[in-house]
């Protein structure tokens, strides 16, 4: 697929020289190739993470039975599958695809320049990322197996090998996560600096497309929040390897310290992946409702507000960790407060759709379903943010269903909206619309069928991180078993449906209908470049004259007014 893109890349510039396959695809500094590297690595890891979910959900629905393609899931394997499913999906799927892949592809194109400001740093960032993914996967094949202490890695379970029984796996897990952070710090510096310094002439701050803004704000949030966890990761590795006791109360340490360091990062991280998805949805909605984004500046201010508030909510993950109840009250207030800017964004999107000439294309379906599903995730978050209700819901499947209703729209629906929307630009061909819609409907219905039962189960008291519910008579009633089986079958249907997407993607990338530069009549700069863009992106560097969403401007013949057209 990348091959198709880069083969065209050479047509446009006369001064090219032939490069070998390895040099072109694995050692390239071109931001578009690096996007594909991130995108495909992310997709492969999404498949691995999805397979893990399949294995442990099968164990929950049919305990003790041999799972097809996996075998019998042992309690140890169950733990490491659950742990690494969470880790992979957040750090190796949501982050590389939403921030790194779309950031790399869209930032230079939408800003009207030829590459990132530091192309070699960009390449290094992917290489470190790839190394981190290899380290994580390698942890499955060491003695004791992969780490199984949950993706939050709370000590003392994560700190002592005689508790977690994975002497090598737990250390490799921390190292992989730390390497991943390093990769994204380098990428983030590149994104921020490129956006600040390399915009096309005439492009002012308020002319930057929303998705670029969101990726930049997310990069800043990541950079500001991740530092303490990098320090914490170093402490955890020292506890594991060098015999220190940072998290050991017997030696003057404190296990809750890790929870603070982790969630000080962990909660802003939600917004780190959410904001780029919101940006993608904003782009798609404007193009397919032929309307200007409602309240561009307000969306930005709410994004800043979300970012700042996100640093003051972390302890809502620790309501039952023994924190002072007065402190819990404060964090309840900030947590409920953060739903205000996000609710505002949802209203802005509805206002953008209102009165538009809506075209229900595949990317638009994904974008609209993002609003619907994320809304449910956000509303259930209110229950968990209130410390009183959280004491009951804590660590139940209600929490699990809640954050899947936020992360799934972000990582899968947001990504699908983006990939289907920019597919013509990436490959110069149209994604098959019919199969795109089939894939959408099967995925979205199956997704709801997985997690709505889990809300009910969680409210009924079903706890997380339990290997076999048959050992708990209260949780093994027939109705609960039925719901578990229903959710698992829905999961299998959803996973199988992804083959529709993969086949459609590969087929369309090579054999799809060819498209021109601007198949959607969109206004932003990436549609000025050829599809797919060649090396250097633009034949002639564009100049910007107006904001990014001038659709249906009264008094003009066409319903769109591109950013680069003088008048």
């Amino acid at each position: 697929m990348a091959h198709a893109a880069a083969a065209h890349a050479h047509d446009d510039h006369g001064h090219h020289h032939e490069e070998g396959f390895i040099r072109k695809y694995f050692w390239s500094t071109d931001h578009k190739i690096i996007c594909f590297q991130y995108l495909f690595t992310g997709m492969i890891l999404a498949a691995i993470g999805g397979f893990m979910a399949y294995a442990f959900r099968m164990q929950l629905a049919f305990p003790g039975e041999s799972v097809p393609l996996f075998g019998v899931v042992s309690p140890y394997e169950y733990n490491s599958l659950v742990t690494n499913h969470g880790t992979v999906m957040i750090f190796w799927v949501a982050m590389p695809v939403l921030i790194a892949a779309f950031g790399n592809y869209l930032i230079p194109l939408m800003l009207g320049c030829d590459d990132m400001v530091f192309p070699r740093l960009n390449r290094l960032s992917f290489q470190v990322f790839l190394l981190s993914a290899i380290v994580l996967i390698a942890s499955f094949f060491v003695e004791g197996g992969a780490f199984g202490g949950a993706w939050t890695a709370y000590p003392p379970l994560s700190a002592k090998a005689h508790y977690n029984l994975t002497p090598a796996g737990s250390t490799l897990w921390v190292i992989a996560v730390a390497l991943e952070f390093v990769a994204f710090l380098m990428g983030g510096i590149n994104f921020i600096t490129t956006t600040m310094n390399s915009r096309a002439p005439g492009m002012k701050m308020w002319d930057i497309p929303m998705v670029v803004w969101m990726i930049v704000i997310a990069s800043i949030l990541f950079m500001v929040s991740v530092g303490p966890l990098i320090a914490g990761a170093a402490m955890l590795v020292f506890d594991q390897m060098l015999g220190t006791g940072f998290f050991d109360p017997n030696r003057g340490g404190d296990p809750v310290l890790w929870q603070h360091l982790f969630w000080f990062f962990g909660h802003p991280e939600v917004y780190v992946v959410l904001l780029p998805a919101i940006g993608i949805v904003a782009e798609v909605m404007c193009v397919f409702s032929r309307k200007k984004l409602f309240a561009y500046k307000i969306v930005l201010y709410t994004a800043f507000a979300t970012g700042i508030l996100s640093f003051f909510v972390w302890a809502h993950h620790q309501f039952i960790s023994g924190i002072d109840p007065r402190m819990a009250n404060i964090f309840t207030v900030t947590t409920v407060l953060i739903s205000v800017p996000l609710a505002e964004m949802m209203f802005v999107f509805i206002a953008t759709l209102y009165g538009g000439s809506i075209r229900l294309t595949t990317p638009m379906l994904w974008a609209m379903s993002f609003i619907a599903t994320f809304l449910l995730g956000g509303v259930t978050g209110i229950f968990l943010g209130a410390s009183g209700a959280d004491i009951y819901f804590h660590d139940t499947y209600f929490v699990l269903a809640h954050f899947h209703y936020t992360f799934y729209p972000i990582a899968i629906i947001g990504t699908m909206a983006g990939v289907t929307h920019w597919f013509p630009k990436m490959f110069g061909r149209q994604l098959n619309e019919f199969w795109g819609r089939v894939h959408f409907w099967v995925t979205i219905i199956a997704f709801n069928c997985i997690f709505i039962p889990l809300f009910v189960l969680g409210a009924g008291g079903q706890h997380r991180r339990i290997y076999d519910f048959q050992n708990y008579p209260d949780l093994a009633g027939q109705s609960m078993v039925n719901m578990r089986v229903f959710a698992t079958i829905s999961l299998v249907i959803m996973l199988v449906a992804q083959f529709i997407f993969i086949i459609n993607f590969i087929y369309s990338a090579f054999r799809g209908k060819k498209v021109g530069r601007n198949p959607y009549n969109a206004t932003t700069l990436e549609w000025v470049a050829p599809s797919p863009p060649g090396h250097g992106n633009f034949e002639e560097m564009p100049t910007v004259y107006r904001g990014p969403y001038e659709y249906s401007v009264p008094g003009r013949d066409e319903d769109y007014w591109p950013q680069h057209v003088p008048n």
Partner: protein
Amino acid sequence: MDGKPLATLRSTSGVPTGRLALWWLLGSEIVIFGGVLMSYLMHRIGHVEFGDYASHTNTLAGAINTIVLLSSSLTAVLAHDAAEMGNGKKAFRYLMFTVFGGACFLVIKSFEWSHEIHLGYTLQTNAFWHFYYTAAGLHALHVIGGMIAITIVAFQARKGHELQRVELVGIYWHFVDVVWVFLFPLLYIAK
């Protein structure tokens, strides 16, 4: 890569790209050290006995090291001044003084640590010594990293290449300095 892309040469914000990126890098470094130091401070407030452990640190060695690092920052500033004048050879000589200062810092530190380990205060002893060695060790890694970067830039500057980088490594070296200015009172002086 033949030549720099257009993106690298643009400067919409008015700040040169390299300096802008460096400030963001320092921002990310500040939160890393901030994480270590805040964790330490929270422990320090909760444990009065940390003061007794801190009395076993060598305040004199720490003070000498502070002076060494601050002086090496002075030569980094003089190197920047020379680079501004376009005198790459002079900048090279000043930068070498800075690297020498970093090396002195590490030598003094290694004597200091050997002595403490000899007395039985190792990384594993207790939470104070965990933080002492981790925070100072993380800082020492930054000193080594800075020395490598400065050496590379100094040799480029001697040939008259990329003189703007002299300023960038200088800013980074000041940052390493400032971190030490926080570490020294917190780990050594606060008894």
